[in-house]
């Protein structure tokens, strides 16, 4: 890996982790308002969700439009374990993450071999199927209301620390993956599968594994969200959330840290805009994100979803397109 980009990568990670620590320690010291602390926590949760999407999409360039399915699977996995299997908070959460991860592995095997557009369609279809499925068996799954009463902490600051810690772990896991050998193998498996296979790499298993980790992290996000709102509902597996994740991931597509940072800014901006403009909040923010993506895609910026070194971005601007054919 390029020496310079690895160094800047490490610096930005260090900066991000420090800011995170500062926020976790500073915010509860500054205010006890549960709304503000909860807002920060939801910001961290969204960052985990988007980061987990970017883990797969960033290095490979393959956009999954079905990421919220795994968020929902994690949420419902935990909620069902708690409600129907009567497991404790920790066990239910772990089970939820496991369900999301294993489903991710299975779906990854089926879907990751598809060409980019069809991959997007297939993941979109999967998410919609999961969403529809969550309305079946209302006695078991709770129908529209979902499963209510999932435990969370009473202390907002403790919940904030938990989310902050989870985000920190996710950031570390994702950046270490991206910079390390596993990330390189994954990049080759997706961009030059012929080359990878000729080198003895079982590309389909590699892709499935990374997809599984991505799904498991999304499940973690789902579990945390369920804990925050004390409820697992179908919106967690909805198209809206899926699309927001994709938009944020693409808009922030300069690296793991950027993606997390943008997600946090999005939540804070959302809350601010809601206070000022009321019902136009969602609209304004989505337009803003779209504009950001358009701007990023224009030749002036020449940004691509992969994290390029400066030499690459120049070359990329000449050749256009993302993948070597």
């Amino acid at each position: 890996m390029d020496r310079s980009s690895s160094a800047t990568g490490k610096t930005s990670l260090a900066v991000a982790l420090s800011l995170l620590l500062l926020a976790c320690l500073g915010l509860p010291a500054w205010t006890e308002n549960p709304y503000i602390l909860g807002l920060a926590a939801t910001a961290f949760i969204l960052a985990i969700n988007v980061l987990s999407w970017y883990l797969y999409a960033g290095p490979s360039g393959e956009t999954s439009f079905g990421h919220s399915a795994f968020i929902g699977l994690g949420a419902y996995g935990a909620a069902i374990s708690w409600k129907h299997l009567h497991l404790g908070f920790l066990e239910s959460s772990l089970l939820g993450i496991l369900v999301a991860g294993i489903t991710g592995w299975g779906i990854g095997l089926l879907v990751s071999r598809l060409e980019r557009s069809y991959f997007a369609i297939a993941t979109l279809a999967f998410q919609m199927l999961v969403y529809q499925a969550l309305f079946l068996f209302p006695d078991f799954l709770g129908g529209e209301e979902g499963i209510v009463g999932f435990p969370g902490t009473t202390s907002s600051s403790r919940f904030l620390w938990m989310c902050g810690a989870m985000l920190a772990c996710s950031l570390i896991v994702c950046t270490r993956f991206d910079d390390g050998r596993a990330g390189r193998v994954f990049r080759f498996s997706t961009h030059a599968p012929g080359l990878a296979e000729a080198s003895g790499i079982a590309t389909n298993w590699v892709r499935a594994r990374v997809f599984a980790i991505s799904a498991a992290l999304a499940g973690l996000g789902g579990v945390l969200q369920t804990s925050y709102q004390h409820q697992a509902n179908a919106a967690l597996a909805g198209s809206d959330l899926s699309a927001i994740v994709v938009l944020l991931g693409l808009a922030g597509g300069r690296g793991m840290v950027w993606v997390a940072g943008l997600s946090i800014c999005y939540v804070l901006a959302h809350s601010f805009v809601t206070m000022r403009f009321g019902q136009y909040d969602a609209l304004a923010l989505k337009c803003g994100l779209l504009f950001l993506i358009v701007l990023q895609g224009s030749p002036l910026w020449a940004a691509k979803i992969n994290r390029p070194s400066t030499a690459d971005s120049r070359k990329g601007a000449e050749t256009g397109g993302e993948r070597a054919t």
């Binding site: 290095p59 012929g194 000729a198 080198s199 390029p308 690459d312 070359k315 993302e322």
Partner: protein
């Protein structure tokens, strides 16, 4: 007679009804360098792809050391010792040439085909003369460096069989010399090389045996001298080219020793 290492039996493959490889059989023995020549469209690259596993045959089978490779995917064959270098190696953004070369290193360590994979990788890199270019990103590297790096990558796991698809194309004479030295070296260590090439001088200099393919079948087989003299080959492929010197570019008749 040494037992054959790679056996291709009655391999057949067509595209859209057009047969490209027809009922082709061949035997490769350990440590030999076999040249594969033929006009464009003769089916050479298709044959390579059938052996490496990229393509499934319509009929026939491939055996490596007695084991049937036919149902196995490419990566399984690679792990059993089938190496492949590409005519046009792909460039992956964000990756350097070093990353590409080291790609099979982990697997090489696990398979234990060579006792010190890291040292061997360094030897290959030095032998091919790309030490300076290691930190260049793949998208910025020159096509020659990319090619040499790909060849290095294919040699790192010390394959039992190396399928080299036009390894000399686009290289300058010094680089060609290095590649030929390297191929001779690995052959001496026991690797079998099946080399598709149009640069006949280089090919004939190092090959112990040459196969000429035409319209999906083996037209002729023999030593380089025999092939050059074969009238059918002359008519169908060489196009009356009589003055190809079967000589090593460095001037000597036998290739020099193992590099590194």
């Amino acid at each position: 007679m040494t037992p054959s290492l790679l056996q291709v039996q009655r391999l057949t493959r067509g595209f859209g009804g057009l047969p490209v490889v027809r009922d082709l059989s061949l035997d490769l023995r350990p440590g030999e360098i076999v040249g594969l020549v033929g006009a464009n469209g003769a089916g050479k690259t298709t044959l390579i792809r059938l052996i490496s596993g990229e393509l499934r045959p319509d009929a026939g089978s491939v055996f490596l050391g007695g084991e049937d490779l036919t149902p196995l995917p490419t990566w399984a064959r690679a792990r059993r010792g089938v190496g492949r270098s590409f005519q046009y190696p792909p460039a992956v953004e964000g990756m350097t040439l070093r990353d590409a070369i080291r790609l099979p290193l982990e697997r090489a360590r696990q398979l234990g085909a060579v006792s010190t994979p890291d040292l061997w990788a360094d030897a290959v890199i030095e032998g091919l003369g790309i030490v300076q270019a290691l930190n260049t990103s793949m998208t910025c590297a020159s096509p020659q460096d990319l090619k040499l790096a790909d060849l290095a990558r294919s040699l790192v796991p010390c394959p039992r069989v190396l399928l080299a698809d036009e390894p000399l194309a686009a290289l300058d004479p010094e680089q060609i010399s290095r590649v030929l030295d390297m191929l001779c070296g690995v052959a001496r260590q026991g690797t079998t090389v099946l080399m598709v090439e149009h640069r006949l001088e280089g090919l004939f200099a190092v090959s112990t045996r040459v196969l000429v393919m035409d319209q999906g079948q083996i037209l002729a087989e023999g030593t380089p001298d025999e092939i050059l003299k074969d009238p059918l080959v002359r008519e169908r492929y060489l196009g009356g080219l009589c003055s190809v010197r079967a000589q090593h570019p460095s001037g000597s008749d036998t290739p020099p020793g193992v590099p590194g």
